[in-house]
């Protein structure tokens, strides 16, 4: 009791002087501003020691503390009070103290706890990655691949919900939701009117628009980018293609909306724009939010000024087939043939029914159906 009050006084004194706090995370020291969370201090160091986060989103106020994947062990509370914290703490919600020592990947206890958290997150999560449009850029996929167990021990029926259309542009698969609340904060903070939230408690809780009110706002499309799983997906991109067959390019346009930055990533195949998303950093958080006009309505290359290919991390499946620094060898055939073009024996488009030049899948609103292919 006496010690803690002393530590409190010490904290106030230091905050006045704007002294930086010295924290040690996995034996790496870093000096951060008072009031920084452990997670953000770890992000200042960067690299492997950054705890994964499913619900925390630095661009959204009040996010974090829901998913428990960022649990870390505090082995020394502070210089003033060196006692360790009795339980693992959520690093996105715990602020640093001077002289705090934190262990993340160096603590087997943390890794074990994280494995348990992943198992809990996957309890009700369906194994429909082959169908899900988020596959390949899903944080839960990455998290369970890196930290999870090989198989589930859960034997009971998983909770299921019907699919819901939130407006005509956003599809909600409540079955896949891990209740991170990110979309709720996004809708709350980016749009004037809050229209959706979480109904029910515990196992029965559910993202809903309440009486199926359709979401219609200039920035509501950002809930798609913010969702760490495939619960909220782009209806205009639904089932069109897998993300790893598309080529992401950085692009921008002058958006009429003053709040929209207009800087996006176009997911292209040939000259078709299949999907428009905001630019995401290495923690999967958008750099700046974009408006719905940019996201849903500008599906033409002419609308955009293309800056160049987006850099994708080498370990991501999206980087497959993206060859960098390649040199195309000169085709000597035309030269050898005295300028005559070689006779093409077989043009694949004359026989193949896939990727037909006369059908633009990206132009269809919503997913393609059997009648789209019968034309």
């Amino acid at each position: 009791m006496l010690l803690s009050s002393f530590a409190g006084k010490n904290y106030i004194k230091m905050a006045e002087e704007k002294k930086l706090f010295k924290v040690k995370i996995d034996n790496i020291s870093v000096e951060v501003e008072p009031g920084t969370t452990i997670l953000n201090a770890a992000r200042q160091i960067g690299g492997e020691i950054v705890p994964p986060a499913m619900c925390y989103y630095s661009k959204l106020q009040g996010s974090g503390g829901k998913c428990r994947t960022c649990l870390v062990k505090v082995s020394k509370g502070s210089d003033a009070d060196p006692r360790p914290m009795p339980k693992l703490v959520a690093s996105c919600r715990t602020t640093v103290m001077d002289g705090m020592e934190v262990s993340n990947i160096t603590s087997p206890e943390v890794l074990e706890a994280r494995k348990g958290v992943v198992e809990f997150l996957l309890l009700n999560h369906p194994l429909d990655c082959p169908v899900c449009d988020q596959a390949g850029e899903c944080h839960l996929q990455d998290l369970s691949y890196e930290h999870g167990a090989d198989s589930t021990r859960y034997e009971f029926k998983r909770r299921t919900f019907d699919k819901v259309d939130l407006g005509d542009k956003i599809k909600l698969h409540m079955t896949r939701c891990i209740l991170c609340y990110r979309c709720v904060y996004t809708a709350d903070q980016l749009t004037e009117k809050r229209e959706h939230g979480i109904l029910g408690r515990g196992d029965a809780s559910e993202i809903s628009t309440y009486i199926s009110q359709s979401l219609d706002n200039d920035f509501i499309g950002n809930v798609i980018d913010v969702c760490p799983v495939g619960a909220l997906t782009d209806q205009t991109f639904r089932f069109k293609n897998r993300v790893w067959f598309l080529k992401p390019v950085d692009a921008h346009r002058d958006c009429e909306n003053p709040k929209c930055c207009g800087k996006t990533v176009l997911w292209m195949r040939g000259n078709e724009v299949f999907r428009v998303t905001a630019r995401k950093d290495k923690y999967g958080e958008v750099e700046a939010f974009i408006c719905d006009t940019c996201r849903f309505d500008k599906k033409d290359v002419k609308d955009w000024i293309i800056e160049g290919p987006r850099k994708i991390e080498r370990h991501s499946v999206i980087s497959q087939g993206h060859y960098v620094n390649t040199v195309k060898p000169k085709d000597a055939l035309v030269e050898v043939l005295d300028g005559r073009q070689p006779k093409l024996l077989f043009n694949i488009h004359s026989e193949s029914q896939v990727n037909r030049p006369d059908i633009d899948l990206s132009k269809i609103h919503g997913p393609a159906h059997s009648d789209d292919f019968k034309k």
């Binding site: 990655c129 082959p130 169908v131 089932f239 293609n241 897998r242 790893w244 694949i348 919503g366 292919f373």
Partner: protein, 167 residues
């Protein structure tokens, strides 16, 4: 010249002896080897009448599987296409409409599915990658064809017949 190995032998250029000049023992030796092979097992089979057994891991022509109710198993997840080293597989997905539940197993299915047999190297990675047990490699060869366009296999070539339709 320096020999690469020490196994090289100089050619014997001495004149032949009388026994060697007769040639008859050498011919007899050769003929015994020839006649011995008549009683050996034949290395070939007369193909269309007799077919050789394949190894259980033989990787032949692809098929697209159906489930026990005759619905297509493929959900167009694209894992076979991403695993394919020859980039032979392409597909286009569609959403199942209400009323099509008896045709497709999942809400998403491959409306178009193509394997370019000119590119395929029969490595079996597609079969290995498939999470839905949809693509299998059967124990038959891809048949020969006179034209290249005959090697573009679409869904009608690959899908196994619906077991319910046969009845």
């Amino acid at each position: 010249m320096q020999a690469l190995t020490n196994r090289a032998k100089a050619v014997d250029r001495r004149p032949m002896t009388f026994m060697e000049k007769l040639y008859i023992p050498a011919i007899a030796k050769g003929m015994t080897i020839t006649f011995k092979h008549i009683f050996h097992r034949k290395a070939t089979v007369s193909f269309p009448e007799k077919k050789r057994d394949f190894s259980p891991v033989f990787r032949g022509l692809h098929i697209l599987n159906r489930d026990e109710e005759g619905r297509e198993r493929c959900t167009a997840c694209g894992l076979c296409a991403v695993a394919c080293p020859a980039e032979a597989i392409t597909m286009e997905a569609a959403e199942r409409k209400p009323g099509e539940e008896n045709l497709y197993r999942e809400e998403k299915y491959a409306a178009r599915y193509e394997i370019n047999m000119l590119r395929c190297i029969f490595c079996g990675f597609c079969e290995e990658a498939c999470p839905k047990d949809a693509i299998y490699m059967s124990e038959t060869f891809a048949p020969a064809n006179y034209q290249r366009k005959g090697f573009i296999y679409g869904k009608d070539d690959l899908l196994i017949p619906d077991p319910k339709e046969g009845k």
